[in-house]
Each structure stands twice: as structure tokens, then as C-alpha cells.
Symmetry: C2
Subunit: 343 residues, 2 copies
């Protein structure tokens, strides 16, 4: 087999550059990369990823832990699709590959073990929930100093590495918008409170009511699990209180779409819908009838930031530390669904 | 550090079973897996993935090569999202992780090198195009006997491992449907012909016309690149021939949605649209106004089959060979968009 030196000579670069290219330690100019790869290929020089990794203790992989739910197409879910696309942009830039690892939503995971067994150089955790086993596993990750980042989940009282969004503010603006239109009785279909974004939304909702001097009515609280199906299932409860309801705030667009389908099947005409505000501002929000007012969350940007925080650490030495929790902004996008019924 | 023997004793299983669990050589009963993982964790036994791999020459990763286009959220594209979800189900079942590798659409790739450098145990290639460099790289993969599979792309004259769909038949049925409604002048917005599915669709389109004794008119052929934007761009050409057009067949739903948006912006009312048939039967097809008639393609199933073909080979010894090219069925789903205008 050819040597690294021969590859370097053929490509007209230093041996160090050959290593950088073949070890995926980026960023490296595309033209340089191309020359090295061509030389390496022409000479049949293939340093084993494993052999290289043994020396450098680097896998070249950014790990992403994802929840796996049978029959739910995780990649077809707007949130995951956007976050992964953002992560994808960053791994592409830094020359890493993306290792996806699935777990059941309730399954605890030995995150630190992923590093010990050298599957990944850094790890992003999606769909994390605030349960005690998860906290314990994350604390070990933190204490042992492995590069990791949580997305869209906050653990109160810890200083975990997190990229989060301003869900409290987003919800506050959604409810203020409905109140400004004249809504007084505003139902809230939220997700479970082991997701911090559900907690944030509830706080925003309550704050907006309090500002306007409106009472908080537990009767108006509904719970789903962020699936379209759970929104659909909530339709019957919404239907039962339809006459007394001005509006409903729904914690993601999927549930809002399910709710609209359910209401329609119960015979409610579009004109008789309560004002509806969704959350996420997914592609689907533009396509529904009526188009859905929704809170925009920069999921793509969140994925990209999380990945860059980790990969920039590993390669260019710039320890992008700062605050462990970074919050990106949300904003309300008003469409037709948030009109009040004519009475 | 603890030994494998100690882990086996604590878990009440054989040492071989410990290895099988920790090496992700599945399928293994969940309960057994759980016991071994708990014992391994309790005793702090972490065999290095790299050390293990050196012995077994196994990475535990199924690789997926994906096209990377800046600003296009690959995971938000229905086709990729569904295929990856199907692959995800299979890797979860077999205890593998999913290694995603991005490349630019025009970038040639040394697929065989992925195996030589032991990044992956098997590899699925998405978004492959019929260009000479790609053929050459795939031939090497084939000749060297690496486990790989192409999805949704056929290379005429080769015997590559492929999971494909009946695109010719799907298109035939779409055009037959339009002809049965009374359409005579049917435009076709297709993708580029370096994708075999574009070629298949064209064949189905021509066959249906020939059956009905209708002429093939090159003036009615339009080309896009499967993006929403290219469908939007085609609207002006469709607009120019609107009066003489009965219907248009569009090679994916994204382009069809772009086309509808474009026509609307040119002032065409929904009632004045030609009959439209899309392709893919994506989630969005149900949400457009009017809902889009479309050809259903079992992308999820295609991903799952491809992954199972590869992983079943690797683990249970059942060399799931059969024909190198497997074709899954497509079917037309009729919705309101394929109505002819009233004249």
C-alpha cells in the first residue's frame, strides 16, 4: 500500500494536510480536499478508519440520539426533520458523518457509554424528557466532560449544555394576539409537562391571561402527546364546550391539524371553528384550510447551532463555551385560523 | 475493569451472549439484552467499539449516502423522510446504528472506500443518478462483493442490488385516469432523465397516450428538478398554453404544489386549473386546495426492505438474495385536483 508521504507528494500538499483531509478534521478548502482524495484514490491509500481512530480516539461521527416510536415516521415529523437538517449542514461543513441512534421514548440511555465505546466524538440528544433516570445519565455526561448538547429541552437546576427556544415568550405573544382580537375563553391543548417546552408554554399562557385580568380556568386545559392523532382525539372535548369557547391554543401544528380534522368530522363548519393558534410554524401550517396562525420556532438554526457548538470545540480549538443554555427567539406568524367567529 | 465472564455471570447468560449483545449482533430478545446491558453497566464493563471492531471488522453501522443540497432540508423532503423512517425501523430491529453521509448531487463517491475504511458494514445509496462516474463506483462495489443497495434508481444493463417501485405502471394509470375523464391534451412536468424513475414515468405516459390513440406532442413536455421552486417556475409556461390544455401530470407533489401556487399568482382561479395529477402521494397532497390526485409510492416500505435485505445477510446468515432488483407496487389515489374544467 502507498504511504501518506506519496499521497502528499502527488497531491502537492503536506503530509499533515493529507491527515487532516483523511481524518475529516475540517474545515479544509474543497479544492485541497479534492486533490488529496484523488491522490489517495489513485494510489489506493486507505488508512483504516479504525486504525486511525485508535490513534486519535476519534470516530469522525457526531451522534444524535432520537426517540423511536413504532409507526411514527420520525423523519416526517417537522421538528425532527428541521433539527436534523440543521445538524446536517454543520456536519457537512466540518467533514463529520452523522450517526443516528434510536431509543424508545421511555428508555433510559447510558450516554457516557457512547463515548467510552468510541462510537461518537460528540453527541446531540433530541426528545429528552425531564425524568430522574435521564437527569442521572446526563449528569454523568456532564461530570465526565464529554461534548454533548441537548436541543429544545431544559433541565431546571442543572447547568447542562442546551440549545433552547423562547417558548414562554412565543406563547405569551400567541395568547396576547387572541386576547387583542377579543377572545376571553381560550382553551389550551398542551403536551405533557416532562417536556420543558410544555412547561414554558403554560407559563406564557398564564402570564398573558394574568396581564389581561382573565381568570385561569383548569376546565380549559387539555393534554395531548404532540401527535396528530391526539389532536384529533381532543376534538370531542373541544366540541363539547364549543359554544362557550372563543379560541384554542395548540402546542404544535400537528395536533392543531388533527383537531381541525376532528371538528370537521363532528360537523363543525370552518366558519364555526374557534380561533386557532398552532405552534412550530411547520410547512403544513400554510397548507391547511384555513391557513394556521402559528408560533415560528427556528428548529433548523437550533440544530445547526448545537452541532457547531460541539464540532467547533473539537477542531479549531475555539472552545465555544459561553452560557450552557442558549435561547433562540420565536415569533408569531398570523394567518387566517386565528379569526374569531362572527356571532 | 470487569471481564466479560463477570458480566455473563451477573446477567445469567453465556459469554457468547454477552458478546452478541454488546456487539449489536441481533436480533436478541429484549429481556436478555436488558439484563446484559444492566450487568455491563453495573460492573463498568465497556468494551471499546473500536477494539471490538478491529477483531470482528464490524462497525455496527448501516451507512446511508444522501445528496446534500445547501438550503434544501433533505429530511423535510417527503421522499427522504419516508425512506429514512423505513430504514430506521429496520436498524432498530437489528440493533444497528444509522450512519448518514452527505454528498453534493454532482459529487462522485468512492463507495467501496467506505467499506475499506470500515465506516460501515453495509450501505444504502439514495439519490443516485445514472452518470458514468456513478456507474463505475457502483460496479466496484458490486465486484468487490460489499453489501449495498440502491433505492428508487435502476441502472439498465447492470445487475446492481436495487429496491425500486413500479413507476411506469403508476404513470400509466395516472394518464389512463385523465384520459378516462376526457382529457386529450395532457402536459407532463417531469424530472431529469438521469433518474430512472423519470424515464419510467415518461414510458408510462407515452404508453397510455398510444393506447388511446393520442399523439405524443413534445410541446407538452416540461422539465423541472423535483423542487417546489421548479414547479413554480413552470407555471408561466403552463399559463401560456392554458386554454389548449386539459390536464397536466407532474412527477412529484412538491412540483405540483409549486405549479398551483404559480398559477394562482398569475391570476388563475382554482376552477380554471387544468386537471392536475401529482406523484408520491405525500402528506401535503391531502392538504392542498384542491386536494391533489397523486400516485402513491411505498417509500417507507422501500427503505425498510433495503435495510432488511442488508442486515438479514449480516446477522442471521439467511442470504436474502433473490433478484437483485425488487419492484414494489404503486397506485393512483384520486382526489379533487384531477377534475376537468367545465367549458
Amino acid at each position: 500500500m502507498a504511504t501518506r508521504k506519496e499521497v502528499a507528494e502527488r497531491a502537492g500538499v503536506s503530509e499533515a494536510t493529507v491527515s487532516r483531509v483523511l481524518n475529516n478534521v475540517g474545515p479544509i478548502r474543497e479544492e485541497t480536499k479534492r486533490r488529496v482524495l484523488e491522490a489517495s484514490k489513485a494510489l489506493g491509500y486507505y488508512p483504516s478508519a479504525l486504525a486511525r481512530s485508535f490513534v486519535r480516539r476519534k470516530s469522525g461521527n457526531l451522534g444524535v440520539v432520537l426517540p423511536y416510536v413504532p409507526k411514527v415516521n420520525v423523519f416526517s415529523t417537522y421538528y425532527f426533520a428541521e433539527v436534523l437538517s440543521g445538524i446536517g449542514e454543520a456536519v457537512r461543513e466540518y467533514g463529520y458523518d452523522l450517526l443516528l441512534m434510536f431509543r424508545s421514548p421511555q428508555e433510559s440511555m447510558d450516554f457516557a457509554g457512547l463515548f467510552k465505546s468510541q462510537k461518537v466524538d460528540a453527541c446531540i440528544i433530541l426528545g429528552s424528557r425531564d425524568v430522574s433516570e435521564e437527569r442521572a445519565a446526563l449528569r454523568i455526561l456532564q461530570e465526565e466532560g464529554h461534548p454533548y448538547c441537548l436541543i429544545n429541552q431544559h433541565f431546571e437546576g442543572e447547568s447542562f449544555s442546551e440549545i433552547d427556544a423562547e417558548h414562554k415568550q412565543g406563547s405569551l405573544e400567541a395568547i396576547r394576539h387572541l386576547i387583542a382580537l377579543g377572545a376571553k375563553r381560550i382553551a389550551f391543548l398542551n403536551g405533557t409537562l416532562d417536556f420543558s417546552n410544555s412547561v414554558d408554554r403554560l407559563e406564557g399562557y398564564r402570564k398573558a391571561l394574568a396581564e389581561a385580568g382573565l381568570p385561569f380556568d383548569p376546565q380549559l386545559m387539555l393534554e395531548g402527546n404532540y401527535s396528530r392523532k391526539s389532536g384529533y382525539a381532543a376534538a370531542s372535548r373541544v366540541y363539547a364546550m364549543l359554544d362557550s369557547l372563543d379560541a384554542i391554543f395548540v402546542a404544535n401544528d400537528r395536533m392543531a391539524i388533527g383537531l381541525m380534522q376532528g371538528l370537521r368530522e363532528l360537523g363543525v363548519q370552518t366558519d364555526d371553528f374557534p380561533a386557532i393558534v398552532g405552534y412550530d410554524d411547520s410547512d403544513a401550517a400554510r397548507l391547511t384550510d384555513p391557513p394556521l396562525t402559528s408560533v415560528h420556532v427556528p428548529f433548523y438554526e437550533m440544530g445547526k447551532r448545537a452541532a457547531k457548538r460541539l464540532l467547533a470545540q473539537g477542531t479549531d480549538g475555539s472552545d465555544d463555551e459561553g452560557a450552557p443554555r442558549e435561547m433562540l427567539g420565536t415569533r408569531l406568524v398570523v394567518r387566517k385560523s386565528s379569526r374569531l367567529r362572527e356571532t
